[in-house]
Symmetry: D2
Subunit: 205 residues, 4 copies
């Protein structure tokens, strides 16, 4: 089983990423459960905005798109800016918009029978909304979101320290990350054992 | 297999409900696939606001709560007011908040291994947000949301006719309702065949 | 100058309300600046769901509606449940929906030339989203929202203590409450000195 | 009086932009009322992601930032993707995040005494949410949002034609655009006549 974790931090490598630091706890648990994981820092790649799978020129999205098709599990990890998912997370969703129309050989949207979860960090409030926004987009695209397939860390109220600058309540976020990884694997296994059949999809004539 | 459909219209019976009219298309498809359905118009019942499963006095929520525990499938159907889920839909989520702490015999949150979907109507814009808000709440509670387990109808831009006042694009909403019902059944079957195991849940010490 | 503060806690009096405790800091500053304030705990009043100004029977909303028309300033104070505004806050917005069509003698929506702000508390993450949702609804209705006309308190990540159970970072929330009160008064004064003229409103033919 | 309109379409020039087509109706009315307007298609400029006013290298944001400081009025115009503001709109908000800490000579956040509005288009549902998200961010930054300072166009339910491909209900969107422009001007005038004073801002010690 394969998982792709898209780190949607605004900061290119080698800047430390708080979001990556928390996402790695999900990755560690996925790996412990036998999943082959790849973590991609999206901002390190040349990905123009757009809503097609290939936007021309040196567009590197199509390589990531191929990995998404091969993986049963997707995790989108985003910082919180102005209480919203990052512009990189939204750019990823926009590029994934094309997947709504892309179909498997049996005619299902390509994300059917795949599962997805969300990781969110921020030095201020906003995580539940970031999770809802990203999950909402992924559900539109066709991903199944297992219950509680998310974790987050922030530090309310008002501006304050980032995840890597303090140990404040890391325990809760890490425990929650383990549950997120576990339900992603469990529901991915269930959908492999008994997939959504092609008859489930009704296309508008 | 059982499904509960909670119609969160603001209008008590016997007022016609646009939301119910669209929800019935999901119900019809669920029934056609062998699911035993119950549609409840929440506003017809004496349900105080609160976050416990029983809020005392003549509180009728606990009867609905019992039905939720017995059903594998939940559909929340809501109108759109000011671009948001109705106050009744939010009251339902608040009452369901207690389910985050309620556990099965094996120690899982009671909503684990259950699936949920959303139906939304409105005479104006707002459906995707209503769906994200409700789905986000249900994911917190532990429900799994299958990809595209929703349908909606509205008529943008600006105020206009309601679902029952026009035939405008009903076809798309009904086709989408069939997909929603089908993926709910398919993922419920998958989770019955291969349930999320008790080891998946990690509680904060 | 008059202000109405609607406390949208789920808990009827005399239960202590965390939301009220923070809202009182806004009220204190408004009073210090000469504003005549009234704080109303909405759940203590018999207010049915609906979208008309009077829903019949013993509906007590119309009394509150009258106070809103007399006040230059409105503050909606809400707890956070499942990351959303409370069902009481949404019920208030739904009842205020009628104000979109209600016009002053000069033909402006009745909320034009009034200002509004938001107070939010929660034992978990969600404040910025609660503020955006409520502000978004109030802007639709016609209220002007001054920059930073809000304050909040919560304690992330994960569930934890409520506002009244700890002193953690109260200072930030109270300072922010003072700014919220001050900008509400300042913009209300500006709109009194130079009101939006009737020519500003263009009605759809 | 000056206005900046930021078109946050994903499509670089010379591609036609539906969002620009609707934003131009706001621009026309602003111009008719004597406001000097500049419309900027953000994606045409080299603007990296980030949260500082200058991110180094050939970053063109600082030129736009300077225009924002000189303008009394800001309009953010965004398409709807997955029901959300575009990634370009979110990138703009992230770059504007620095303005929360930037102060005028008298010590107020630089966006105090400025007003902002929102324009949204989409071939599918989502406008009210896009408006709330963008308005919420702008309020955090310090902009005042006049009541009904927005317009939108979309065509629900389901995917369909874009603004420039049909005349369906353009009238409502254009009338609403005129109100948006008019209230922006009116509240900008009010804040010029009676500005928020420096005493209004209380900084966390």
């Amino acid at each position: 089983m394969k998982a792709v974790i898209l780190n949607c931090t605004l900061k290119p490598s080698p800047h430390p990423s708080n979001t990556e630091a928390l996402a790695e706890h999900v990755l560690t648990e996925l790996t412990a459960q036998g999943v082959q994981c790849e973590l991609i820092r999206v901002v390190d790649h040349a990905i123009p905005t757009g809503v097609a799978t290939y936007e021309g020129g040196g567009d590197e999205w199509s390589r990531i798109h191929k990995k998404l098709l091969e993986a049963e599990i997707l995790v989108i990890a985003s910082p919180t800016w102005l209480g919203h998912p990052s512009s990189i997370a939204q750019k990823v969703l926009e590029r994934m918009d094309a997947m709504i129309s892309e179909k498997t050989e049996s005619g299902l949207p390509v994300a059917f029978n795949k599962v997805a979860g969300v990781v969110c960090t921020g030095n201020e409030d906003g995580a539940h909304h970031v999770i809802s926004e990203i999950a909402g987009g992924l559900i539109d695209i066709g991903y199944t979101i297992p219950g509680q397939a998310w974790t987050y860390w922030n530090k309310g109220p008002g501006p304050g320290k980032s995840f890597l600058e303090t140990d404040y309540r890391h325990g809760w976020s890490i425990t929650t990350a383990k549950t997120a990884a576990s339900v992603l694997v469990a529901v991915a296994i269930a959908l492999k054992a008994a997939p959504i059949p092609k008859e489930a999809y009704h296309a508008d004539a």
